[in-house]
């Protein structure tokens, strides 16, 4: 037992493999007992997790914000739809979705790495609105307004003839989420993740120690775009459809709400966010039904909640659910939190994100304050 513990402590790779195996087994057992509707919801949550994990690594590690990830999901979804209709198998299809989105994400990331704050937000916003409109420009290739439909995935015959489709879809989406978890767990806890955080906290200091700031930010952006592409590809597999209406500006803002709710910078936060994105429309529907509200109210209720959450989080609770959980844990078990903080300095700077949605170290916050005094810089 101690040997296992020692090995886990020594090797990050082993730790991440152990994490993925444990989560995977739990998910496998869970899907057995869920109804087909709940399995579909799990699949929805799994592809949302892929996108949110990418966004949270981008925002929390490299300090950038993207409102264009809905468009990257569209890239992934259309790749899967085109290749699926050309007869590709599921796995190469999804790999291609990741690769294509990565290729699209690199130039966008290069542009993004030179932009800050509202400029970056505005540019990625324009990207989110502009890209899905391409489907109208090339109606014969991308299917116009109606989009492309694809055949549902077929569960392998070895699982038995009566294996439900929804459970198979949940397995596919969860497998994608596990791959995302594995990759980002390793990214966050490796030298790459540390270099992202160094760039986030102080660009000048990071470039003084030899990090190429622009390249690091481009890499973070491309990685998170690729995750969004995987999420979009999984969305196409689960919904069997890729159409521009599935990727409106609203989707990108919903994703933003998801990462802000979860708390930027933590993979657990992405889990919270994904769960909420899936469950909230359900809850608001139930509420609307029990108060017999009209459909226009019930359709818009979840969106209103996302808006309120974004506003409320900025005014009251900028570190999100995961930040709240972390604070609660720290309050209940100060000794444990203190030990974790000593072991991993990065965790301290993450927990110190009281003011900013993106964790900012204390000297950065101080220099921001100093920069505000002359008001123009």
């Amino acid at each position: 037992m101690t040997a296992v513990r020692g090995a886990l402590r020594a090797s990050m790779l082993l730790r991440s493999v152990a994490l993925v195996v444990v989560v995977g087994v739990v998910l496998l057992l869970v899907t057995e007992s869920l109804s087909s509707y709940r399995n579909l919801q799990l699949a929805d949550g799994a592809y949302y997790f892929c996108v949110l994990a990418g966004l949270t690594v981008l925002a929390g590690s490299s300090g950038q914000i993207s409102l264009g990830h809905g468009a990257f999901m569209a890239v992934g979804a259309y790749t899967v739809a085109k290749l699926g209709n050309a007869g590709w198998a599921l796995l190469p299809e999804l790999v291609a979705a990741v690769v294509v989105t990565l290729v699209v994400g690199i130039p966008v990331g290069m542009a993004a790495s030179r932009l800050r704050g509202p400029y970056l937000a505005g540019a990625t916003l324009a990207f989110a609105v502009g890209l899905p409109a391409l489907a109208d420009k090339f109606p014969s290739f991308l299917g116009g307004e109606n989009g492309l439909s694809i055949n549902p995935p077929v569960p392998p015959s070895s699982l038995g003839a009566s294996f439900p489709l929804e459970r198979w879809e949940a397995w596919i989406a969860c497998a994608g989420a596990l791959v995302t978890l594995f990759v980002f767990y390793n990214v966050i806890h490796s030298s790459i993740g540390r270099s992202f955080r160094a760039v986030r906290d102080d660009e000048i200091a990071a470039s003084l120690v030899g990090l190429r700031v622009g390249r690091r930010q481009t890499l973070a952006f491309a990685l998170s775009a690729a995750a969004a592409g995987l999420g979009g590809g999984l969305l196409a597999v689960v919904t069997q459809l890729a159409q521009p209406g599935a990727f409106p500006l609203q989707l990108s803002l919903t994703l933003l709400a998801g990462v802000v709710i979860g708390g930027l910078g933590s993979l657990w936060g992405a889990v919270w966010g994904a769960a909420l994105l899936v469950l909230l429309p359900n809850w608001t529907n139930d509420i609307a039904n029990s108060f017999s509200l009209s459909t226009s109210v019930s359709h818009n209720l979840p969106i209103a909640v996302y808006g309120l959450v974004l506003i409320g989080a900025m005014l009251l609770w900028p570190s999100g659910i995961q930040g709240g959980v972390r604070a609660a844990v720290a309050a209940v078990r100060p000794r444990v939190a203190g030990r974790a903080g000593r072991g991993r300095p990065a965790a301290v700077s993450e927990a110190g994100a009281g003011e900013s949605p993106v964790p900012v170290s204390s000297d950065q916050a101080a220099s921001d304050e100093a920069a505000k005094a002359p008001s123009e810089r």
């Binding site: 409109a133 391409l134 802000v260 969106i303 989080a313 008001s375 123009e376």
Partner: protein
């Protein structure tokens, strides 16, 4: 050739509207260093209010006035209630907050008025002028749009340059501490800045609604194009915003006419990226250097 003239003319009237939105964004940026991503949703709400007034029997002029007045009040309330607490927070907080406001307003509009776009009356005829047998793509209503936007731009310029309130507003934006020491109520000036900006936005909403129809998401492209226009003009300079709006109106009108309207948002994005890469201070910025 006729097509080129038509596209130029419609580009001018589109550009006037983009200029109004860009002005709204610039006014807020100048006073609080925040890009108001909720602007598109705020002008959507005021246009819905104008539509309600007109549909319940009010005249167009009454609806127009109500839109501007409600925009003024709305801007002041938004600044006072949700923006004030985060004015000194990191810039990302303001971005997320205004996007949250956008999301909330779109949802609320959908709840009240439904998601199906509806028509909105134009002030003047939508039939193009006839010049020597050919009908131009420029209508009396377009003339109205251009004249109103010019009037508002001139009025704002006069307000800032020639009145004591304008001087105090500029002082509050430029050097809040000093202005406060000299007795300027900085908070009130910021509120007034937001109110004026929202009023300008409300104007753009009423002017553009006849051509895009009125729905919760109708004005999203206009907000983005207005943002690009504001950045093109330097984000800091009201004259820059007007010129940026007109340039962008023309450019996007050609793109839409020759390549199809689906490419308009992407073309706006391309222009934005090119401007930020080559001349991040915009075409008209007073500040020498800017972090983008």
């Amino acid at each position: 050739m006729t097509k080129f003239i038509d596209l130029t003319l419609s580009g001018i009237s589109d550009g006037a509207i983009y200029a109004a939105v860009a002005l709204a964004l610039v006014l807020i940026w100048r006073s609080t260093r925040i890009v108001n991503f909720a602007q598109g949703a705020m002008l959507m709400i005021t246009t819905f209010i104008a539509s309600a007034v007109i549909n319940s029997g009010g005249s167009y002029v009454l609806g127009f006035a109500v839109a501007l007045a409600s925009g003024f009040v709305f801007g002041a309330v938004v600044e006072r209630v949700v923006v004030r607490p985060i004015e000194h927070a990191p810039p990302l907080n303001a971005v997320i907050l205004t996007l949250g406001l956008y999301t909330l307003l779109v949802a609320v509009a959908g709840m009240i008025w439904g998601n199906t776009p509806r028509s909105f009356p134009a002030a003047f005829s939508l039939r193009g002028y006839k010049v020597g047998g050919t009908t131009l793509l420029f209508t009396p209503n377009d003339t109205f749009i251009v004249l109103v936007v010019i009037a508002v731009a001139v009025a704002l310029a006069l307000l800032f340059r020639a009145t004591s309130v304008g001087l105090r507003m500029r002082a509050a934006a430029f050097a809040p501490e000093v202005a406060r020491l000299l007795g300027v109520r900085v908070g009130r000036m910021l509120t007034l800045g937001w109110a004026l900006a929202a009023m300008t936005g409300a104007l753009a909403g009423v002017l553009v609604a006849p051509s895009v129809f009125l729905g919760p998401n109708s004005f999203d492209p206009i907000l983005i194009i207005g943002f690009v226009a504001a950045v093109l003009g330097g984000l800091d300079s009201p004259p820059g915003a007007v010129v940026g709006g007109l340039v962008l109106g023309l450019a996007l009108s050609y793109v839409s006419g020759y390549e199809g309207s689906a490419l308009v948002p992407l073309a706006a994005l391309a222009i934005l990226v090119i401007v930020l890469m080559i001349r991040p201070t915009g075409l008209f910025s007073a500040t020498k250097e800017r972090r983008v």
